[in-house]
């Protein structure tokens, strides 16, 4: 399994997938559904748009809530997941819509928030 943990991974929303085919990215979204095989799940971004995330090995735990996925964008504009982390929401819910707005800002000002 390749290690994309050492390279820049731009933070993107569903709408940016097409521009990052073949590249490592970081995607934050809410778990919508999990395929029974555990090798595929769907996340929604801050605009409610869905992204499919694939795994090379089936999930070995329950996932729910907001996930931050690191992986590579496939030719089908899905994300091949290398690793994921669950955002804690035990104290406060995560405002995914606000995060989406922040993404717009960092995409608009890459000189002040460079990836790489």
């Amino acid at each position: 399994m390749e290690d994309v943990g050492e390279v820049p991974r731009p933070r993107i929303a569903t709408g940016h997938l097409a521009q990052h085919i073949g590249q490592p990215v970081c995607f934050v979204g809410r778990v919508e559904k999990i395929h029974p095989t555990g090798k595929l799940f769907v996340l929604s971004d801050g605009e409610g748009k869905h992204t499919t995330v694939e795994l090379s090995e089936p999930l070995d735990e329950e996932i729910s809530g907001v996930l931050e996925v690191v992986g590579r964008v496939t030719n089908q504009a899905t994300i091949m997941c290398m690793s994921y982390v669950q955002f804690r929401e035990d104290k406060s819910p995560f405002d995914l819509e606000l995060y989406n707005e922040a993404l717009k800002i960092i995409h608009e000002f890459p000189e002040y928030f460079p990836f790489g």
């Binding site: 943990g5 991974r9 907001v66 929401e89 406060s92 000002f109 002040y112 928030f113 790489g116």
Partner: protein, 253 residues
């Protein structure tokens, strides 16, 4: 968080007036991405990100690796903008355990520290590492990075040579003091500046009390004064002395 202008804070020795003024600029604590820190250029003791001088910084990222040694803990903190950054936290060897607990990998943290470079490798020496309890702070941090670097660059480009700092209250709370729409001087609102000036000019050893501030500031309610005091205290401009009602300025004249 906030961007503090705190001359004499964090153990920096008092120099001449000119030296202090010069050091004031790099006493701002600037939120950054790891990629910005890695790209920072070093000239002698100074680091610059696109010509903006930085020293104390904050980053937010996830701990990928943690290694405990007798005198320090070495973390690798990853914010997705580059490879994970080395963050070293010195352990107080006098403390009996407890104080410096290793934060486990997989935890999102806020790190405040100084940028260092050794043999061309950049790292941070952290004076504070805090797990994030509310991930919305992460979103805020992203916005603060863009805001800070944009403002710092604008300040640089403008003719003004006065060191500016700015508070996180400045996002959307602009225009308290200076001319139309410009940043408040020193990053403080008019109320905060008034309170700070009174406290600075108080000659009494135990400092100024809240009651005295209320007497002098007729236009401000006690709750406004308390809010200003709380903000100034958290930014390091003032500290409490004999009790929570008395304050002195950290900027000793």
């Amino acid at each position: 968080g906030g961007y503090t202008q705190s001359p004499g804070g964090f153990g920096s020795p008092a120099g001449t007036q000119a030296e202090r003024k010069q050091r004031i600029r790099s006493q701002n604590i600037v939120p950054c991405t790891v990629s910005q820190l890695l790209a920072a250029e070093q000239v002698d003791e100074t680091f610059r990100i696109r010509d903006v001088e930085i020293s104390q910084v904050t980053i937010m990222g996830i701990i990928r690796h943690a290694e405990k040694a007798p005198t320090n803990i070495l973390y690798k903190v990853d914010d997705m903008t580059a490879a994970p950054m080395d963050v070293r936290q010195w352990v107080d060897t006098d403390e009996a355990g407890g104080e410096n607990v290793v934060v486990p990998p997989g935890t999102y943290v806020k790190v405040a520290g100084h940028l260092r470079s050794f043999q061309n490798k950049k790292s941070l020496v952290a004076f504070k590492i805090m797990p994030l309890e509310n991930m919305n702070e992460f979103t805020t941090h992203i916005l603060e990075i863009v805001n800070a670097h944009m403002i710092l660059r604008k300040n640089l480009m403008s003719a003004s040579r006065v060191p500016q700092s700015f508070s996180s209250a400045g996002i959307g709370d602009v225009g308290g003091y200076g001319g139309g729409g410009s940043l408040p001087v020193n990053g403080l609102t008019a109320h905060q500046s008034q309170v700070l000036n009174l406290i600075k000019n108080c000659p009494v050893p135990e400092g100024m009390s809240l009651q005295e501030l209320k007497l002098q500031l007729h236009n401000m309610s006690m709750s406004t004064i308390k809010q200003a005091v709380e903000f100034l205290s958290s930014e390091g401009h003032i500290y409490s002395t004999v009790d929570d009602d008395h304050y002195k300025s950290t900027d000793a004249e």
